[in-house]
Assembly symmetry: C2
Homo-oligomer: 439 residues x 2
């Protein structure tokens, strides 16, 4: 016999056993259902695209991470996020789309970075974006926290807080300090406050040459505390005469007013002036979502408002706002900290066990009737001992077993066994359906 | 302004507009729901794998088609089907899986072939397989047509026929003619009977050196006509003393007996001795599915029984049986012949239109209530004329619009407009929910 090839997968790629996959899919479906409930339309763009199209705006880090290769004469790449494909899609189909265009996409993206703990090279992103033509109402900025709220309420991972900021406030503030040339660097450092602490932030700001007095002003600003209303008041009280800063305050106030009037408890969202979302990309509202008791997980849902989605592909101005959930990493982390116990890990509700091959036809007919009643039903057809057949149901976590022997076949009955309580009774199919449905 | 990059995708890649995507997803969900109803468990293997693992058994054609590339030191490839990843998965996780192992996987696969009409380089496969340890009951072979029957009944593309054969019958028949050395070539030619006709098949058989008398016997055999029972009788009456042939007849008889006792009308399945499914892979029952009025679409669901899933990765014997639906191609073809009109192409059931920004809070609260009642609800927040707002609903195919002006806000009412009948009435939220739900 030849030497078998080792059946291994690459590090940094997630592959689950069925029970975990069932839980994963429930989380994915929950997210998708909320997206659809808010009127977002499904999109499914190719995994492989032209490299020059995908890399239109990519910088050095992204280029290094990307899976890029040639096939025939084509220079190709695997998508590394769902935003660039969206931009390409909207630019390509803009005459056929209806604006404001709300879309969701849930799919795998690929980044060939060195896999570290909790980092994946292939992972699911669950994105929504709403794209306007020329303008987009700030009410859509308020819709994002409502959606995050719905999703994480339904997922039940515990109390969470949606952190809100506005990039115009940040940018305007730094303009007022005459630090506009260093905004990108400063924002990158500030963004790490939560991870590295204020001393390390101060040190890094010193390293890039920010004066001590300005550093104090910056630290004072980004650590402004209070309720949302109090923070807004403090910001206004700073009386900074910078248009961008004041426009940012106005936008954030509008978004918070919309949120206040919606069905969302205030303790679930909070202004956090440290949030910048690194990228140059965002120009207005920005979001991060923290599970309160698991701050170490980092943001589980982030996003923001951008000025122009398709600048690399068209000359139109298409502003948008969106959020993204990195599902693969989220799932792995939640599993690690044991936050997934409330999800059921089986789909099949009932296992039919014909005691002998002679009962297979009756079992198959019974399965048809159960499936017609929307009960997912498996049949154990293998020729094994009864104990092994029941063990299959037990190991699989199937809650009901229906035993079918000669007696049942002759009398048109079924012996249903409740696997949890180890009780069993012989009944007709209608009663079986009621038992399984808990009626 | 810089020159934009053309936002195009590669030929041979499918990308749909939202309305088509919604239909596509309904078909995908229908397939998935039936798979789950029969007890198949979800699996989601990586898109990228080690090339040597994926190509363990691949031949020349597959190697040419595969997307293969290096990243760092790794020789990688994109999956070109879902069967090889299943084999690798089962070999890798065999101690953690519960057998018989029933899994479904619905995902994209990649083949870099020259794109022709109706051929895709990236396409969805929807696969199920059931894998046994050492043995696998023939009742699972009968389960496949039951599943195909459920799916295509639910999809409603019109009357279809599941064509059944058994590779042992074919192989045994050719052994009895002392043509076992040429079986692969002969099967490949026979498989084309439906496409190229019997004259061309005769010609091709002559070309590979089959004697005229044997060709007549072959053509006589593969064109055996009659009901399933009649064909089985004719096969038995041939009294060929070949063990494989007779074992094949026995297996096919068993599978047909199981089908007869199940909830499936006989006109939906039929023995077809021309079916070989090309590949060397299959060793028993084989399936193809034809939509009767659209034979030109080819088989829309195919598969079969194989002796050993994991022979390249382990020394265990794991027999299996499975089917696959090539969803991307199927969707494109069905759309082309206009077989998709019965699917709804919108998800959003209701659009709320605040007439003015002042009504946004009331609109958002109303949307929350509708969504709590499981009504997917969009809100048009943009500052546009009322006619444009209604046009958005019309173009989007949203059946109900709820207009919210100052009057509605002051009286806690809603003006609901039925877009199909152009009727409208002012009612409370409970009545709105009833109207939208058709109660």
């Amino acid at each position: 016999m030849k030497n078998p090839i080792e059946p291994k997968i690459l590090p940094g790629f997630m592959e689950l056993l069925p029970k975990d996959q069932i839980v994963f899919n429930q989380i994915k479906n929950t997210i998708q259902n909320v997206y659809e409930a808010f009127g977002y339309l499904p999109l499914d763009t190719p995994v492989i695209e032209y490299a020059n199209v995908l890399l239109a705006k990519a910088g050095g880090e992204t280029e290094k991470q990307i899976y890029r290769f040639t096939k025939g004469e084509n220079d190709l790449a695997l998508r590394f996020d769902l935003t660039v494909p969206l931009a390409r899609y909207v630019a390509s189909h803009r005459n056929e789309l209806i604006f404001p265009f709300k879309r969701y996409q849930i799919g795998k993206v690929f980044r060939g970075e060195r896999p570290q703990h909790g980092r994946y090279r292939e992972f699911y992103q669950c994105d929504i974006d709403v794209i306007g033509q020329e303008t987009l109402s700030l009410a859509y900025d308020a819709e994002m926290p409502l959606i995050i709220y719905q999703i994480f309420q339904k997922l039940g991972f515990g109390k969470f807080t949606i952190h809100l900021n506005n990039r115009k406030i940040l940018n305007g503030f730094f303009e007022s300090l005459n630090l506009e040339g260093q905004i990108t660097d400063i924002l990158r450092i500030i963004d790490k406050l939560d991870k590295i602490g204020s001393n390390a932030v101060i040190e890094e700001l010193q390293k890039i040459g920010i004066a001590q007095k300005q550093i104090e002003t910056i630290i004072g600003f980004i650590t402004t505390k209070g309720t949302n209303a109090e923070i807004l008041t403090k910001l206004k009280d700073m009386a900074i005469s910078n248009n961008l800063f004041n426009l940012g305050i106005e936008e954030l106030t509008t978004v918070l007013n919309y949120l206040e009037s919606a069905n969302i408890v205030e303790e679930y969202y909070h202004i956090d002036l440290t949030i910048a979302r690194g990228l140059d990309y965002y120009t207005g509202t920005v979001y991060e979502t923290i599970i309160d008791d698991h701050r170490d997980l980092g943001s589980v849902c982030s996003g923001g408002r951008y000025e122009n989605l398709t600048s690399y592909y068209s000359n139109e101005t298409l502003p948008g706002v969106g959020i993204s959930i990195g599902l693969t990493r989220l799932f792995a982390k939640l599993k690690e900290v044991n936050l997934l116990p409330n999800f059921k890990n089986n789909l099949t509700e009932c296992l039919l066990i014909p005691l002998d091959a002679a009962q297979i036809p009756y079992a198959t007919q019974t399965a048809n009737a159960l499936r017609d009643a929307n009960i997912s039903t498996d049949i154990y057809y293998q020729d094994k001992k009864i104990a092994q057949k029941i063990k299959f149901a037990d190991r699989s976590g199937i809650p009901y077993v229906i035993l079918i022997g000669e007696d049942e076949q002759n009398t048109g009955t079924l012996t249903i066994k409740d696997m949890l309580n180890s009780t069993q009774e012989t009944v007709d199919i209608q009663k079986c359906i009621k038992i399984i449905k808990g009626e």
